[in-house]
Amino acid sequence: MTFAGVDLVFNTLTFVAFFAIVLLLHSLPLAWNTRKVNLLLASYVFYAAWNPPFILLLWISTVVDWYAAQGLVHAKKPAARKAWMLLSVVANLGMLLYFKYGTFLLENFTVLMASFGVDYHAPKFDIVLPVGISFYTFATMSYTLDVYLRRAQPARNFLDYALFVTFFPHLVAGPIMRPTELVPQFEVPRRMNLRQLCFGLGLMTLGLFNKVVLADTFLAGAAERVYDRGQAPGMLDAWLGTLAFSGQIFCDFAGYSTTAIGAALCLGFAMPDNFRFPYAAIGFSDFWRRWHITLSSWLRDYLYIPLGGNRHGPARTYFALMGTMLLGGLWHGAAWTFVVWGGLHGSYLMAERKLRERFLSVELGPLGLLAVGLLTYLLVNLTWVFFRAKDFPIAWQVLRGMTGFNGGAKPMLSTIFIVSVSCIVTLLVSTHWYMRERTLESVLARVPPVVVGLLWGFMGFAIVISQGRGNAFIYFQF
């Protein structure tokens, strides 16, 4: 853990001080509305601590969707309802397009013009990506879309709604909350209790251990050496670098989600699971039920199903599947490498669907399931190459290494990296398999308290002595 790190993220001393003040304020015997106002103001401070002007975007997103939902409810004609819904979608996607994809679109337009022989020079833009914009625009859009689709009623008061959008544990990197998950929790007074506080702190310790110790301290270095040094890796280095990244991205993002869930629980609120031991997935539809659940379910509900889902024949299903995964890839970043990452996952899902139709009657035994699970993990690792590589030449370079085509490559990783990546990734994947059908809570209920206390203390100690650099969570850039 760093004591002076990047922004007001969970792995900094600034957050510890901030959270202590919020906890104190929230535990005071004040009126429920006052405590909600405190949480709202704290959430704005949390966001403004990164870059104060961008708080305006958060307000725009909040206000537009509030009025769009109000308009939807009071609209008499379907066309008017549609117009209010489109206002929300256009405003949110417009912000996202400008800030996240503006430069990317311009660059591609320039290349396209050049291919037609037009010498177009785009003006220089230096657009800063507002942290968390991909997360909170999706959260606010789900509010309007749920009202439009008549799945939910609009919030009864603006404070509850604004707090749903801005609530700091989920604001900048999810889990992507739906209004129906959070708004009802703000409607009735709830008081934090000691058990929730302790368990919440435990979850925060576990999340930070994943991020600070496993991801940043032990895994990030190997991935950086293989992907960022411009050198062609041999087979061992290419695989270890990629396996390290597979562990790093899980520990980083699941670590963030666990910390966020823990922080919310300390305050007496429940947030949904975002990961369910994804490296024990058997097949890709299973993987996407376990990885970044709140995003994959968002894309399913608001993109895949509206695109036709699986109710209009195989061709439409495959189109919807691939379209969803390509856009899901692009959501992660404005680069073609992310599109390829999404495309690969789309292809995997389509292939799996075909295979399931063909081998519907085949029942796999435990070993068969394990084999399919390991094959899934292996293929997921191939997609991580495109996710991690800054551009295609690097991705091809690593893939060539993984397939043994970088003969004579100079060794890149020293023994400490080989040992740490091998041990941690093996332990991580084994843990996922052990936990495949379990929850953390069900295991905690059985383990002797003294063991839990010791592990908890050890994780806290490891976080402190790791002295992380306060690295931003990887998903902040998305």
Partner: protein
Amino acid sequence: MPSSTSSSRSGSARLTAADRPGIAQPVPERDVPARPWPRMLLAALLLATALTGGWEWYWRDFGAVPGYRDDDALWARQRRRIDAGEGDATVLLGASRTFFDIQLPVWEKLSGRRPIQLGLDGTSPLFALEDLANDPEFQGRLIVGVAPDVFFTGFEYMGTVGPYWRKESPSQRVGKWLSMHFVEPYLAFYDPDFALFTVLRRQPWPERPGRPNGMDVRKLSVTEADRNNYLWRKLEIDRDYRDMARSVWAQDFHPTPPTPKERAESQRVLDQQISRAATAITRLRARGVPVLFVRDPSDGDYLAFENRDFPRKSTWDLLLKRTGVPGIHFEDYPELRTGYDLPEWSHMTRLSAERYTAELYRIIEHEQALPGGKRW
């Protein structure tokens, strides 16, 4: 909040949004297992505190003392002083020798004013020179330390400082303030050299064929709140540690001469560095800012390496000639050349640095006197 009411799929895992397509998602369930939570938390806190105390004791026993962490934020705090009313101060730029060898209290005692220390370990001062040249708030005096293997190669060990300084967020400033008031003055182990992975990495791991383990630069100094910095006493009293520090430097004393291609590239970089310095200095001088180059002492194999790879004539002399800036080279002054203790050949002990600062200041005031009775 509902407790222990999670619905289950076929196994024991609870339902998530993945299991509920196309509907409004309900309030999540977040069970708290029935465990003695307060006692478990207390046990965890006690264990973490005991282990952390043991870790602190271990490093203090090793010779570590609490000091301020010389990171991007600490540098930015000093840089901000220029734009916060101290634009007329004497500013020190350079690499680690400027940082270690010029003692701010001694300078303050002689000049009546404490300089702003912006020297950076293993980092060319050019980015800071250009930054100050572009900052009209800066109207003071500038001393630029020249460590040949850093200045003329453009090496930037702490290259993140510049971007950090320009984009530092409010929470980063608060974080550093909290750290400087509640952590850094009390914990000796809070030092990058004692971080978990750094400690593990320097253990004697078996070497992978074709990939030597190599040695990173170890802790060399202790830094104070305003970046006054001095050599860690362990280098004076622990012979093994001093020898190890020397052998870390020796890794860079290439035994093989550079190829013609490498030599041409080095020359190109050197020319570029001098041109950038000249451009920045022209702007500074146009504002009336006096600038002075200083070549601080080095010793032993390090000095031999510098003389071989960065001969004075084609580096230092060329720099002074092309920039038109005066310079003080330690070899030209007996009082800067002899009687100093540089345990690892590159930096002086604290006592030597104090004497060196006094001698250097005296020479500067004597040879580079400022008009109007102003002092450096």
